[in-house]
Symmetry: D3
Subunit: 182 residues, 6 copies
């Protein structure tokens, strides 16, 4: 129902209970594609699971501690993006996202992240935004690299994916860097 | 951040903690106007009060039990509108709203209610939407009357306003009536 | 254990966990009779369900927001009656009730409602009591009509009964009307 | 509102929020008398304190874990009595009580405890009821002694009263003993 | 992980989630021995049950209201001991314990209780410690008797063990008595 | 009461409510020293604040999600150390610590961290432990460097200290590296 407009083609829609089936469908039809880098994909076996997950996301939003949205491209659900948390004391957040296979190649994620950066730095007054990508996840890494993030570190064994650890690359963007670009 | 688009001029924005000051300003500058029919206006004496109220509205939204939004007219906050609750068992909801004095006369509320009716009947599959107005509140009553609601009753002493009771007019719109109009 | 005395024949007993079987027995033996107008009857399939329902009623009572009691007629459980909520700000409440088939015709419900009206207006200082009945539920409607309630409205499709909506008649009684009768 | 009838003169009324002032008045006018053996009397300085205490008692009741009632003698509040807890696993409870100075000498407490013993053993199926009295509290001790309780122990320093410990006498009554008396 | 050192041989280790299997193993291999006097033994049928029980014990500890620890004898889990509650108002607590069959006869429990008495009286400033034993549980009763506790009472039918009640002996130790011994 | 033994000189004691004054004293007498790198020091103005903070740490411990302990050096409280969280899915945790000025130079922190690394890798089966230090905090950085941690990144503006951001150095230790050292 409620959306954050990125541009004429893209909107980010706050997930609501009404979206359980649609969201599960997205994950289910992209299962092989998504499980390469998302540790929770194999756990999802029914749209009913989203009936408890979506209210948790909305409570996180109610607590002013981040949110999760569906990416609508020409009104069709093609991915998800959100703030994992908001650390108000240290003025930073972290962005996570994924995209359906068949929606790749349209600059959807780059434009979505760009819009959230503007929101984070300008509307919320945050100072820092982080993106963490699996080292070998070149498609995901392309986003912060295209947007001019700085590589700040490599967290060894930072995440387990189906019982195997892999390294995470930490990308950081600061408000002062972003403003220079604008 | 997140909005429900009514038309080119009007958006309904989910209230977030970032909106406390802006919302208090709206209420405060329309105090005399609003207190005529809203029992809680005199209780509001600081924008800090919204720091506990807005999270409660968002938790209500997270519980799939209604919401409260700010009405943006040409991007400026001029009023509020929402669903008081959603009774899923009986498939009905109730709409409440108020508007700043200086925004009256532009059809803002009629268009906003209209958009929420479409959302309630089409997207949520509800069967009935109710609006209750103070009997003497002619401006508020004009909205459901213009939209073709049916007067279904007069609740005697239905509400207290600063220690004086007054009657409430119950307006109802059913999905089948609304669909006929479309 | 704890009762509100209506008269020499009738007591209203606050339901406790000890009453689960007795209450389920009442509902179960009046299933066909009750399901005509009570939407929850078909959901009740075991006395164990009352082990979670009765504590919820008692918590509602603890919150000063209404209660649910069993109607004892000559010490036998023959029905239930209660306040659905208490709206302290607007000083009103709403009464709900049902009666076993074989207890009808003794004026039990009229006397019980009468006693609760006195309690609401005199002890609690409320201003308004409402009763809502299905339009075709003539036995239920006879109670507020006999007691002099005013018909204030007809809520179209106000309630769903096993997937079919029906209209609700709103009856209202105000403190000043009741006092005149006494 | 809800009472447990002891006999023609005495009722035990479940405390509700409406009773705050009446209960505080009882405690306040018997302050010197009650503080001799009740450790919380000096803490009570306003009827507002009961606005949080009474809901806690009612939640205890909702949890099926005891209750607290006002003793009404000829409809006037003269004391309090209740079950501190109900240990369902071991089938026992403990009774506590106090009485206004000017209500002493009428057998009010003896009859009230007697009624609660019947309720505990017959209605709830408990096996054991305990009463603990300060060793020097002869008026309180007279109750279990008159009713045939057995002295089962002396808990040394069992309770602190305004920073001084004193011994508690444990009185016990078993279902089989009580039934023999009936 | 965290232990309270009794002496060179004995430590009391706060149970953590990591201990579920080890604790269940202790109970399971001592089932016949323990069920003689512990009412909950037959309820334990899997180490998974401890995944909800241990967090409850730790929350009790977080609330400063007692704790439950494993008794380690030469680093092996041989029993459990703890404070059932801490009554800060009346400055007393109650100790409960049990020991594996094959660890008996080493003075383990006597030394453990002794250490907790020192902790209760000296570190926490409590005034009274209680131990309750089944009347016929001679091994358990030997502990407080060896340590000089006073028999203060016999609670008739104080506990049910697999549907049969038995009497409990109350042993008490006061700070002033304990200090005299030191 | 409960401690984790590091060696003959050092113990890590789980903070309990009894430690409020002692902990506040530590912070208060090291205020100037600690505020250089700890953002919360200026917020601490009374030992009463720890009456809500310590139960929160213990609830975190009860949730199996980390802990906070006092470092006892020859039984005297000289610092604090703990796990900020435990990420069981990805098998990692993060260690935080601080030390009193006058306890520096004894290898206390190095030995404490060493002991917690053993606990994390061997007892809990974690795979990764992280330490984050302010870039200019040479004393803090000496600990992971001495223990052979790897510098994995520099989080720009990772933390705000009294309204000024500074960079954080991320140090990581993996189980396989640690085991090689043992």
């Amino acid at each position: 129902m409620f959306t954050f407009k990125v541009d004429a083609e893209i909107e980010l829609q706050l997930f609501q209970l009404q979206d359980c089936k649609r969201l599960y469908h997205l994950v289910n039809t992209n299962r092989n594609h998504l499980r390469d880098w998302l540790p929770w994909v194999d756990d999802m076996s029914s749209h009913y699971q989203y009936e408890t997950i979506i209210p948790m996301w909305l409570k996180q939003f109610a607590d002013n501690n981040g949110f999760n949205t569906g990416i609508l491209y020409h009104r069709e659900l093609v991915g998800a993006i959100g703030f994992h948390y908001i650390d108000w004391r240290n003025k930073h957040t972290s962005i996570g996202y994924y995209l359906a296979k068949n929606a790749e190649g349209n600059g959807i994620m780059t434009r979505s992240v760009q819009a959230l950066l503007n929101y984070a730095f300008i509307d919320l007054g945050l100072n820092r935004v982080e993106i963490r990508c699996g080292e070998g996840n070149s498609k995901s890494r392309a986003i912060p690299e295209r947007l001019g993030f700085t590589i700040e570190g490599r967290i060894r064994d930072g995440e387990f994916l189906y019982n195997k650890p892999h390294d995470l690359i930490v990308y950081g963007m600061l408000a002062r860097d972003w403003n220079r670009k604008l």
